[in-house]
């Protein structure tokens, strides 16, 4: 039987904490999405999720 094993780091292990100097939540999210798309994640092989407001 063939199996596919999905191994993912546990929460917090490889998560990136960012601080942006933008007060507006929508603008902050847009800026962080840009950072993720350009460097923090490679959209070809990785997805990302943004949680505003800390842990």
């Amino acid at each position: 039987m063939k199996a596919t094993v999905l191994v993912r780091p546990k929460e917090g292990i490889r998560d990136v904490d960012l601080e942006v100097d933008i007060a507006d939540a929508n603008a902050a999210r847009a800026e962080i999405e840009r950072m993720c798309g350009e460097l923090l994640a490679n959209p070809l092989i990785e997805s990302f999720e943004i949680r505003l407001g800390g842990a």
């Binding site: 350009e38 460097l39 923090l40 490679n42 070809l44 092989i45």
Partner: protein, 231 residues
């Protein structure tokens, strides 16, 4: 000024094949010069750029990711945009993919083990800038040494690249789980190439193969032509 074409070898923190690359380039007629990652321009008269192997920035985030946004990469990007030949070897290939100067990405080897061996490669395209000293179907033996060398692209991109002749080198056997056994690709313009095998480690028959010299010598040819064109 030397008659030899100037080839810039970019050095990132963690590069470890920069000196081998410079030595090998010198052995096939280039004047190699090192360029530190913090530089924002390439030396005047640069005819080609090599991004060498290693573990730039400790492979932090993803292999090649941090190096792809190093200050020197703006200059490399600009050089490539005007047709300057750029060759990325192993980690340099990873950097070029992360910089979006080449399609795809390099994933961990399928076997999840570091592979270090002579690899047999098939030349798929011989009219490439980098393979002009080879013939289509020619088999080259060039060593690989990597843990994250499985080239990957989405299916549509892969088909498109194959149709355009951008897949220039393939392994003759499954070395690392690379999609389509791809070992090397070029950009659409053809002046940027990346490959996981190390041509700089195959320039002397005493070391097992001189096939890598064919690629590097072609790069030096291209460097000379680019320098003339830019003059």
């Amino acid at each position: 000024m030397s008659d030899r074409p100037l080839v810039a070898v970019v050095v990132f923190p963690g590069s470890n094949d920069d000196r081998d690359a410079a030595w090998a380039l010198g052995s096939v007629g280039a004047e190699p010069t090192f360029v530190w990652h913090e530089e924002t321009s390439l030396p005047g008269g640069t005819g080609a750029v090599v991004l060498p192997g290693g573990f730039s920035y400790g492979d932090y985030l993803r292999t090649g990711a941090i190096a792809s946004v190093a200050p020197v990469m703006s200059a490399v990007r600009e050089f490539a945009s005007v047709g300057g030949p750029v060759l990325g070897i192993c980690n340099g290939f990873q950097v070029l993919c992360e910089a979006r100067l080449l399609p795809g990405v390099l994933r961990p080897n399928r076997q999840l083990e570091f592979v270090c061996a002579d690899a047999s490669l098939l030349v798929e395209v011989a009219d490439s800038l980098f393979l002009r000293r080879c013939t289509i179907g020619q088999e080259l033996v060039i060593p690989v040494k990597h843990g994250e060398g499985a080239w990957y692209a989405d299916e549509g991109t892969f088909v498109q690249l194959a149709a355009r002749g951008q897949i220039v080198l393939r392994y003759t056997a499954d070395v690392n789980g690379a999609m389509g056994n791809v070992a090397g690709v070029v950009n659409e313009a053809g002046n940027v190439m990346g490959l996981m095998p190390h041509p700089e480690h195959a320039v002397d028959p005493l070391l097992g193969s001189a096939d890598g010299g064919l690629l590097l010598a072609a790069l030096v040819d291209a460097a000379a032509a680019h320098r003339l064109g830019a003059a």
